[in-house]
């Protein structure tokens, strides 16, 4: 179905694997489009309750494939046509999205990871704001997400200095939920993703929506959104299940409804 992305669904988790390992999963127009389409497919699939984006081979994603770059290229148009729709598709996804950063995430590859809800890093992973080294600026939402995740000052340091951030440093900055040793990598990311997929994912969708909206809201607006969100969550089967499991002192079984 896709050529540059491997797409699999297992146990409620959609695995979206960037699959150009010989090019360190660098973005081409096709890869941009296929990532977008696979996110859209997972968003619409009722069986899917959590998404994982990861990379095949030793890199997560090395950013734009520079072989496609030439002097006549209109960089702005490439972003508008290929990157921005991908980032917007990801941003509007109501299900939790994990970036399983298995290796280097450079340039727009870093942007992709930043746009996800969680970042699990292998101990071999690193982030690199590579743009400045070729006289460009972070794009594909990078400068939108980065300061929200780590604050303005640190975002400035990373974006301007362009120094490699290893997994442990990323964890300290708040860019990683967890750093996982390579030998436990597949087991731990699978466990994390399947855990999310078995949570009350309807409530997670509301949390995502309200957290996003909080960046541009007054307290009054946020409080109203809390009220609407809680009304909705209060109507879910998962809420009923959670309460009755608590009363019956058993483990709840959530369906995401």
């Amino acid at each position: 179905m896709f050529e540059t992305v491997k797409y699999e669904v297992a146990n409620g988790v959609a695995w979206i694997t960037l699959n150009r390992p010989d090019k360190l999963n660098a973005f081409t127009e096709q890869l941009n489009k296929e990532v977008q389409q696979s996110i859209k497919q997972a968003s619409g699939d009722k069986e899917v309750r959590c998404l994982v984006i990861t990379g095949e081979g030793r890199a997560f994603c090395s950013g734009q494939d520079l072989q496609g770059v030439n002097e006549d290229m209109d960089h702005g148009e490439v972003l508008r046509r290929f990157y921005n729709p991908m980032v917007l598709e990801l941003h509007k996804c109501k299900k939790p999205v994990i970036a399983a950063v298995n290796g280097v995430a450079a340039g727009a590859g870093m942007s992709l990871a930043l746009a996800c809800d969680f970042r699990l890093l292998s101990d071999k992973a690193s982030f690199l704001e590579a743009f400045i080294h070729v006289g460009l600026v972070p794009d594909a939402g990078n400068l939108y997400f980065l300061p929200k995740l780590i604050g303005h000052a640190k975002a400035m340091e990373l974006a301007v200095l362009g120094e490699k951030v290893n997994a442990q440093e990323a964890k300290e900055l708040g860019l990683a939920t967890k750093v996982i040793p390579m030998e436990k990598w597949q087991d731990e990311i699978t466990a994390f993703a399947e855990r999310l997929a078995s949570m009350p994912t309807a409530a997670i969708a509301i949390i995502k929506k309200n957290l996003k909206a909080s960046w541009e809201s007054t307290l009054e607006e946020s409080l109203e959104r809390d009220a609407q969100g809680q009304r909705l969550a209060g109507l879910t089967l998962d809420h009923k299940e959670g309460v009755s499991a608590f009363m019956q002192k058993r483990r709840p079984v959530f369906q995401g409804k």
Binding site: I206, K209, Q228, G229, R231, L232, L235
Partner: protein, 259 residues
């Protein structure tokens, strides 16, 4: 009021009359029978003294995604003139009870124009408005260029009408097209609550306020002020004015009767 509508669903909820557009398979595209059924239902509610406010909603994934293009693809100018295509729309604008719209999904073309006929609009976060007529080599014909311009001013109206581009729910809120954004799943529930609040106000006040505000949209300030004053004086002939002011003085809740 007929109970056998084909393109809408009509129901009463206490003091509220609800009209839900009901051609979900075509995203509630508006055709001539639908407009005439909406008008018929509105006039029914207008005549029913137990109804104090009207709620107009979509159904399924959309409010209304434009007009039925097939219906008019082969129309000639004179066909349209002789049919007086928009006379039902003109009568919609004469409904005196408050109309509260609930927009989820698309409100495009004729659907957007219908939304603009409402007095208050509540919209879901996923609502998208727009006038795509320009892409078909025509333009809005049921008030779109006029009502949108009066709402948002010439600059944005021309931009949206020239390009046909979609207006997001957030932009619609920023530009005063809608009153409030609500989570999609709660849209009807919250709109009904808001409508009920209005339905519990003194009905003649609501009626004369609506009349005066609509007057303000297309008259001079001086004339509008005179009109407002007459309506203000008129309210002093109602029992509800007595009740409202007495209740205020006696520190109790007023019981309005609509008289």
């Amino acid at each position: 009021m007929s109970n056998s509508y084909e393109t809408i669903k009509v129901s009463q909820h206490g003091k509220l009359g609800l009209i839900a557009l009901n051609r979900p398979k075509v995203l509630n595209a508006i055709n001539r029978p639908m407009v005439s059924e909406i008008l018929d239902a509105m006039e029914g509610f207008e005549a029913d003294s137990s109804i104090k406010a009207i709620v107009l909603s979509g159904n399924g994934r959309a409010f209304a995604a434009g007009a039925d293009i097939d219906e008019m693809a082969n129309d000639q100018a004179i066909d349209l003139e002789l049919r007086n295509q928009f006379k039902d729309w003109d009568r919609l604008a004469m409904i005196k009870k408050p109309i509260i719209g609930a927009v989820q999904g698309f409100a495009l073309g004729g659907g957007f124009e219908l939304a603009l006929c409402c007095d208050l609009l509540y919209a879901a976060d996923n609502a998208e408005f727009g006038f795509p007529e320009v892409n078909l080599g025509v333009m809005p014909g049921a008030g779109g260029t006029q009502r949108l311009t009066k709402l948002v001013g010439k600059t944005k109206a021309l931009e949206w009408l020239f390009t046909g581009k979609r207006i997001t729910a957030k932009e619609a809120l920023q530009h005063g097209i809608v009153n409030q954004l609500i989570a999609e799943e709660l849209l009807l529930e919250e709109t009904m609550k808001a409508a009920e609040q209005i339905a519990n106000q003194a009905p003649i006040s609501i009626r004369l306020i609506k009349e005066a505000v609509l007057k303000a949209v297309d008259t001079s300030l001086k004339e509008g002020m005179e009109f407002e004053r007459k309506n203000f004086y008129l309210l002093f002939s109602t029992e509800d004015q007595q009740e409202g002011m007495n209740a205020f003085i006696e520190k109790r809740k007023p019981q309005f009767k609509g008289k």
